[in-house]
Amino acid sequence: MKELLSGNEAIARGAYESGVTVAAAYPGTPSTEILENFSRYPGVYAEWAPNEKVALEVGIGASLAGARTLVAMKHVGVNVAADPLLTFAYTGVNGGFILVSADDPGMHSSQNEQDNRNYARFAKIPLLEPSDSQEAKEMVELALDISEQFDTPVMLRTTTRVAHSQSLVEIGGPGARELRPYQKDPQKYLMVPAFARLRRAALEERLVRLREYAEQSPFNFIEWRDQSLGVITSGISYQYVREALPQASVLKIGMTNPLPEAVIRRFAAGVKRLVVVEELEPFIQEQVSSMGIAVTGKELIPNSGELDTGILARNFSEAGLLKMPVNAEAEGSTRSKAPAAPGRPPVLCSGCPHRGLFYALKKLKLTVAGDIGCYTLSGLPPLEAMDWCVCMGASIGAAHGVSKANPAMSGHTVAVIGDSTFLHSGITGLLNMVYNNGSGTVIILDNRTTAMTGHQQHPGTGSTLMGTAAPAVDLETLVKALGVKRVKVVNPLDLAKTLAVLREETAAGEPSVVISRCPCVLLTKAAKPAVLVEKDKCIGCKVCLRLGCPSISVKDRKALVDPVSCTGCGLCIQVCQEGALVKGGNGDA
């Protein structure tokens, strides 16, 4: 039976069918749905870890205990997990271990577009790259087999277009689940220098054997067609090549580390012109080139952003490698008269609690060291209340650095960080600020969820990925234990109180934490009645528009509140100086 599955659903299915019993991850687009789907299969265990490093370490334990194990994360998550990964490559596994890295060329929802294939090479571990959902499922099984056969963690690298595209997948039954027995073996698992040196040598021996294996892998295959042009490709790029260059001979590499050198040489010898088509870095191209083979690639296609059929067709025909039928581009002439289409950027939802906090920060003209989550949107107009954002957890360290470098900025700089992000990697930053006698104000945006990636549970929510109840961390107690003496809790939808607390805390001259607590509006089912406009009182001053709420507009000098989308959060009522915006419902509502 065939089903239409996304790459992520197929990976979850593949794990289930290959007998994986333990999976761990921290959410991150485009990887999140892997664990969400896997956790629904019978008889498996899956968890959200507070960050990717912990997820990987949980995976190491599960593998050592003998279970087939899957760990998933977005590309930047591997940066966080890199430390255990690079030494796990030394110890090797017991139960098969697969790390899914979901890369995001084009940065649909990421802060950078690093090419994580480099991590596989760096760690000297096998790397598989699927090009559709069926391959994604098959490669999970293969990865686990390779992992056990060669005693190594294996990386499966997807990209957004594989992870989030759906295609047909042949569905099989659940796999056999057997725990391999654990055997104490310090020389293999206890990475002190003397033993690590032994494993370092084992790592190289393993790579030699993996190179031989790669030559035989059915996922590295040649499709001979016209031999005047040969294309080496991997992952989603294979699909673009097949569509844009249907005549070209193709070497599709499914296992991209280590590369199958003999296969590549055979292919290169059989074609007149050799081109590598890969997204992002010249990962394959540079290695082929260093084999002494004449090859082009990045000379023809960009090394940033996504590829597609159009880019390949254009660039190959410009290079004289493809005769393209002249397209009916004539349509363009009429299109030039097209009315300009204003953008539709994502915005904080109507009723989002983050809005109140950032409106207050803007009012106080503070420098805001930002972090990543829904709230990062408050850096865009009209709120424009965040100065920078680098990576998860960076806000607190950066704010502390600012105040140490420039005391004049210190009373005016705050760090803002979401609850999930604080638990991911903010705690150590706060500990550092306290320890090093900092004086900053840290605002934890406690909306009781990981909203940005689709509302996952985390250690503060009181429940787990498997749906069981769990202890919820008490943020007040936690930050006090780190040594913060000043801890305040505010409701960000109460503007006057929020402003007062922020004024007081930024003036305090010692570390302080403000917990801005109000659940994400998409979690609260029952909205309050929509705000009403008293037309005769409205003077059309547009002060309410500064909130950037998608429910409010001003037409013909009168405010309008959309009764369908307004959640009645009441922020605009507090912002309007004319009393023109009033609570909806009639008292008893």
């Binding site: 957004t160 989030h164 595209s165 539709r344 950027p345 990636t453 998409l522 998608p550």
Partner: protein, 192 residues
């Protein structure tokens, strides 16, 4: 040999494009097509653009429709239709919902919602079907079924049997709103 069909669905988060693409995919599957569906739905917030690409054929490679390659552009919102009409083939069909959802730059007065979108599209594309899907859905008993009205308008132009569509609809829509959705689908199917 099944004729390849490329369909681009565009709209605003919350308009039900995802349900529409699921029904379409199921109908295509039953008809025997190879299918690829690509969806970019970055963030959790409501209100951003949503673009779904559905490609059908004997064998589909890329999940992405090249610009100028869509046989059908199904626009759930006018401005989104305008934004993505460059994907339409010269002889393709654009089906466009007359609903306007102003984006935040328009709401805050930083940009204008372009007037005359339907007029422009009618002058620039050969096959244009403009539909007031909200009004039709309301008549059928559920405004939320506007997505299914639009699906119906598209369905009668695609090479699948009507019963196949109706089965897919019944599979995908919750029982308690099925009647209204069936009526909405029929109204779309028989539109024009």
């Amino acid at each position: 040999m099944l004729k390849p069909v490329d369909i681009l669905m565009v709209g605003v988060g919350g308009q039900g494009t995802i349900l529409a693409s699921k029904i379409l995919a199921q109908a295509a599957l039953e008809t025997g097509y190879d299918i690829k569906v690509s969806e970019i739905h970055g963030m959790a917030q409501r209100g951003g653009s949503v673009v779904t690409q559905v490609r059908l054929g004997e064998k589909v490679f890329s999940p992405l429709i090249p610009p100028g390659g869509a046989d059908v552009v199904l626009a759930f919102e006018k401005l989104e239709g305008l934004r993505l009409m460059s994907f339409l083939k010269p002889d393709g069909t654009i089906i466009i919902n007359e609903q306007e959802i102003p984006p935040v730059p328009v709401l805050v007065g930083a940009a204008e919602y372009p007037p005359g979108i339907i007029e422009y599209i009618s002058s620039a594309a050969r096959n244009v079907v403009a539909v007031n899907a909200l009004a039709i859905a309301e008549k059928c008993g559920n405004v939320k079924a506007a997505n299914v009205v639009l699906l119906g308008v598209m369905a009668c132009r695609l090479p699948f049997a009507r019963e196949v569509w109706e089965r897919a609809l019944a599979d995908r829509v919750p029982a308690k709103v099925l009647e209204a959705n069936k009526a909405a689908f029929a109204a779309g199917y028989e539109y024009e």
